[in-house]
Amino acid sequence: MRRLIFLLPLVVLAALLVFFLRGLDPSRDPSAIDSPLIGKALPTFSAPALLADKPGIDSRDFADGDLRGKVVAVNFFASWCLPCRAEHPVLKQLTSELGIPVIGIAYKDKKDAAAGFLAEMGNPYLRVGTDEPGRIGIDFGITGVPETFIIDKQGIVRHRIGGPLNPQLIDEEIAPLVRELNK
């Protein structure tokens, strides 16, 4: 019994080492925050249209508008954000390969700048809203741009990707989820 006490430091250290080792996993982002939105209904919001030829977006559109019963991706972007530029060409894949519409929300961006960005980079969005004050972003709990949310057919938030999308992420993370949600 007395001897067992002397083993205690070793046991505690071993336990800590396991946690440290898992903490070093390169795929783990130590600054990532769990979204409390996952599994909950989309927040209520209304984003005015950014472009003249495409309507804005309102959370009601998911409940009983044209987006009802569809798996949808909501993507926050901004013209001032460099990773958004990197991500932009990849967004089209969501629609072309997975068949899901992508809704864009320009976060804390001037209308002209955001519209110019889309004119330059192409427009992968079905509809584009603007969130110049950043309040919709806060309602979604975003910590920066780009961020992408996957919404299921019932309008429930199912997944969040913080940071830019890339083809690998779409193939490995989003595609299986979309297949699952489309069942």
Binding site: I33, P36, P43, K108, R135, I138, G144
Partner: protein, 171 residues
């Protein structure tokens, strides 16, 4: 992302990326009602910034921290309670934003840990004293042991045992 980075200096002193001036709360954000403003400050001091994560939003220079500070003030001005404001933020960013972690199942160990450790270690010490007392009541020394002890004491006396240091003050 301002000054908190400098604290990296405590161990490592790596480049404190994007470190900026510590100009957190700006005059134009502040409420004219000092009581409301004080409440806003108190709340934002305990809300962690989601971008520069080692700071609270009161100290942080990040854009989003500014937005959240303004939001908190709007809500307080609209008559919300401190708890309602906190709940509003937690609903969007999760428990992560609370610098004082809520007491829950998953934080049980965190909150109970220190006091549990104190109790266990304290109990261990009591046990230690009890065992010691038992040893004290061990059989008296044999003549042989007595002689050895005396010899040892005498030797100690000559070389000056550290026990005779004037550090002991119970005189």
């Amino acid at each position: 992302m301002s000054g908190r980075r400098i604290l990296a200096a405590f161990l490592l002193l790596l480049p404190l990326l994007a470190a900026g001036p510590a100009m957190a709360v700006r005059p134009d954000e502040m409420l004219s009602d000092p009581a409301l403003e004080a409440r806003a400050r108190a709340i934002s001091k305990d809300i962690r910034c989601v971008v520069c994560q080692s700071e609270n939003i009161d100290d942080s220079d990040a854009d989003i921290a500014h937005d959240l500070r303004v939001l908190i003030r709007e809500q307080l001005a609209a008559g919300k309670s401190d708890q309602q404001v906190r709940d509003f933020l937690v609903a969007r960013y999760g428990d992560f934003v609370l610098l004082k972690p809520p007491f829950k199942m998953k934080t049980l160990l965190l909150w109970a840990g220190p006091f549990a450790m104190l109790l266990i270690a304290g109990g261990g010490i009591l046990l230690f004293y009890r065992r010691r007392r038992d040893t004290v009541e061990a059989p008296p020394l044999s003549a042989d042991e007595r002689a050895k002890l005396d010899a040892f004491m005498a030797e100690n006396e000559n070389t000056g045992s550290s026990n005779s240091d004037s550090e002991g003050t119970a005189r």
